[in-house]
């Protein structure tokens, strides 16, 4: 990682948390299996446990190969494996970018500009994200930290304004249909935590105690998800199950005294967070492409990645991501586990075996 700029681990933590919280904002019970409202609360705890389990390769990477990202770890086995890993991660990040852009387009097209074409917005958003990605990780980290503060502030307002509309009688009994629905919801939430793949690339770029930051990040995510789900289901009741974006519906309801239209505040925060996530993903693709090809054309890689996303989103009307959203949980979980858990696990295992053999060889000589 020589020559790469570094950021504080807490800054990285803020950017990754913001990216994950954006996925929580797009939480939609529509189309998913109908799960009783209170079953979502234990599901967040289960999801945190699953995330911890899926983080094992990341923990091993940090422990055995400090200062190396996943492509560098693969390089210790063979340069070819490093390139293959790099390409696998580029594909992975491209897909996550497509998912993020498609979700943003869906939100903007449904809520902000229901009467007009959102293509122009998407073009501008990707153009701005490409520019932000070329500015580097430090810039994204700084904006991400400020955005997280804004995000937290906006939600503090919304929750405060919603307090008088919360009715616990709206909530269902916990585990009414057994533990299975909660586990299903947990798996769904855990497999949306693609930030573990981001961390596999970015962790060596962070200064500070990564373990503590990771724990705080996970705890913050758990608390936020619990809080937002509580306000969604205790505030909206079964109405939440009819909404494409129930978190936005909560923001629409939250008003007190002369303070109204908090949904506009949420919309702003939502778009800002999506912009940062897309910028980060484009930056990550550029980083991985630099490892696979030449390091010279980093800005060109960002531009190409952005262009690819734009073409697929605008001209293919989100066909790829439509397929992903309509795919069952098993298919989505399979994809996630294969790319985010198994690929790094195998790379780390191979690197450890090679290192052990190297040690044994050295001792025998």
């Amino acid at each position: 990682m020589k020559g790469s700029a570094k950021i504080g681990v807490w800054q990285l933590c803020c950017v990754l948390l913001l990216s994950r919280l954006l996925s929580t904002l797009t939480f939609s019970p529509v189309g998913a299996e109908r799960i009783n409202s209170s079953d979502y609360f234990p599901s967040v705890i289960f999801a945190a446990m699953m995330i911890l389990l899926f983080s094992v390769p990341l923990i091993l990477q940090k422990h055995y190969f400090p200062g190396k990202d996943i492509a560098d770890v693969a390089y210790t086995v063979s340069p070819l494996l490093s390139k293959a890993t790099g390409i696998s991660y580029v594909l992975c990040f491209s897909f996550f970018t497509l998912v993020a852009v498609a979700r943003l387009e869906m939100f903007v097209g449904t809520i902000v500009f229901p009467d007009s074409d959102s293509a122009l917005f998407i073009i501008l958003c990707i153009a701005a994200a490409c520019y932000a990605a070329t500015l580097g990780l430090e810039a994204i980290g700084r904006v991400g930290t400020i955005s997280l503060v804004l995000f937290t502030g906006a939600f503090a307002f919304i929750m405060m304004a919603m307090a008088d509309k919360v009715e616990t009688v709206n909530l269902s009994p916990v585990f009414y249909d057994g533990v299975e629905p909660s586990l299903t919801a947990a798996l769904d939430a855990a497999t949306r935590t693609v930030e573990l793949a981001f961390a596999a690339v970015l962790l060596p770029r962070a200064n500070g105690k990564a373990g503590r930051a990771f724990a705080v990040c996970l705890l913050a995510f758990t608390c936020f998800a619990e809080l937002i789900l509580f306000f969604v289901f205790a505030g909206l009741g079964d109405f939440a199950q009819t909404q494409m974006f129930p978190v936005h519906a909560v923001a629409v309801l939250s008003e007190f005294s002369v303070f109204r239209r908090f949904d506009v505040l949420l919309t702003g925060v939502w778009i800002l967070s999506a912009f940062i996530k897309i910028s980060l993903l484009l930056y990550l693709q550029s980083e991985m492409l630099q490892k696979v090809f030449s390091r010279k054309w980093n800005k060109l890689y960002v531009l190409l990645a952005g262009l690819l996303i734009l073409v697929i989103q605008v001209f293919l009307a989100g066909t790829v991501t439509d397929y992903y959203f309509t795919a069952g949980l098993a298919a989505r979980a399979g994809l996630y586990i294969a790319f985010v858990v198994l690929v790094p696990s195998m790379v780390i295992a191979a690197a450890l075996i090679k290192r052990k053999r190297g040690h044994q060889h050295a001792q025998s000589e």
């Binding site: 009994p173 909206l236 009741g237 079964d238 109405f239 009819t242």
Partner: protein, 382 residues
């Protein structure tokens, strides 16, 4: 050069993003600003009555020119609500703007034949405010929405003002769209919304709260009387303030009490295999008026008696309303079933299953705790 290109990029963003209202057809003068929507079912579909703002009049109220009333009513028909609303553009040449809508009204017959099919448009349309009140017209929605309440009086405004009265009067109910849909989706709690009546008063009309309609599934099946509405408000813990009176025979007096603060706690339990709900109402009241033929002083004995009578009145009112709904209508608009399901899920699953079937055997006991805080400025009645 770098700085200039950044500036140009920013200018481009501003030009492209901050031009939303200049899109042809989206300017305010080209929109029908909808204030209230009335829906009546017809044989071929639905008749939608839109109360819209007369933008020319609203923009120039003092111009002196005859620009007509501040609102206009427009009736359109279509196979569905969305089709009918979009048909408005055909006759007016303007696109309806639903985000400013302040009221949704259904005709009585429409409410009786089921509302699910008509509500989907409002739930799906992101422009609809979820807090918009929903009501039923005693006759047709068209009649209520197009009622003329006087020169430059916004009917939608007047109706929402009436419904806002729920904060001061326990006989008034106001239900927001999301609350109504939430109740309609519930298998345990029956939904309810206010029924409004329009009466002719000379050249102008008058709108008032008539009753509260209760829905089973999505059909309005019966209505609640004024006392039952008070009980409903108390049991759903939505009562904030209001008035009720008690008759004191010992003093030959009628005392009017104003509710200052009230809270209700409902506990469910199973006793000898029977489902029992204990309702506890804690209320603070002020004496607003005493009416008697002979003067008497408001002494401690009178106050204690008033408190006891108020407690009795509240208990009787709640138990009578519950009896009527449970036994006569086989309906639970109070949310008892939801509470029982939440507290005893296993028992509910094994013994109850269909809450409606269990209603005749459910017992509700009420305990009211009413305390008089102030008696007003007079020490004795006149």
């Amino acid at each position: 050069m770098r700085k200039v290109s950044k500036m140009l990029f920013l200018v481009l963003l501003i030009v492209l993003l901050l031009s939303g209202c200049s899109t042809p057809g989206l300017e305010l003068k080209n929109r029908l600003i909808v204030q209230a929507i009335g829906i009546d079912e017809t044989q071929d579909g639905v008749r939608v009555t839109l109360q819209t703002l007369n933008t020319e009049m609203a923009g120039n109220p003092n111009s002196g020119a005859d620009l007509g009333e501040v609102t206009r009513c427009l009736t359109v028909e279509g196979a569905t609500v969305s089709e009918a609303i979009s048909n408005a553009a055909k006759s007016e040449g303007k696109q309806p703007l639903i985000s400013q809508n302040r009221l949704i009204v259904f005709g009585r017959e429409t409410a009786k034949s089921g509302l699910y099919t008509h509500l989907d448009y409002f739930v799906r349309n992101a422009s609809t405010r979820l807090t918009v009140p929903v009501a039923v017209s005693d006759t047709t929605a068209e009649e209520l929405v197009s009622a003329s309440l006087g020169e430059n009086v916004l009917t939608a405004d007047s109706i929402t003002d009436i419904l806002d009265g729920a904060r001061y009067n326990t006989n008034i109910v106001s239900q927001a769209l999301y609350e109504f849909v939430n109740q309609l989706s519930s298998e345990l709690t029956d939904a309810f919304i206010p029924v409004l009546r329009m009466e002719e008063a000379g050249e102008e009309n008058k709108i008032s709260m008539y009753s509260v309609g209760v829905f089973q599934d999505d059909r309005m099946t019966y209505e609640l009387s004024a006392d039952d509405v008070t009980a409903l408000m108390l049991l759903t813990d939505k009562a904030q303030s209001g008035y009720f009176s008690v008759d004191n025979e010992a003093y030959s007096a009628q005392t009017v009490l104003r509710i200052k603060k009230t809270g209700t706690k409902i506990q469910s339990k199973v006793q000898n295999g029977k489902i029992l709900f204990n309702v506890q109402v804690k209320m603070t009241v002020d004496i607003l008026e005493t009416r008697s033929d002979t003067p008497f002083s408001l002494d401690k004995a009178y106050l204690l008696q008033t408190e006891a009578l108020a407690q009795q009145r509240i208990s009787e009112m709640i138990e009578a309303a519950v009896r009527r709904c449970f036994l006569e209508q086989n309906s639970d608009p109070f949310g008892f079933g939801q509470r029982f399901w939440k507290k005893y899920p296993a028992q509910f699953k094994s013994d109850v299953v269909h809450w409606r079937n269990a209603l005749p055997t459910v017992e509700v006991k009420t305990q009211a705790d009413v305390s008089v805080e102030r008696v007003g400025n007079g020490v004795e009645n006149l």
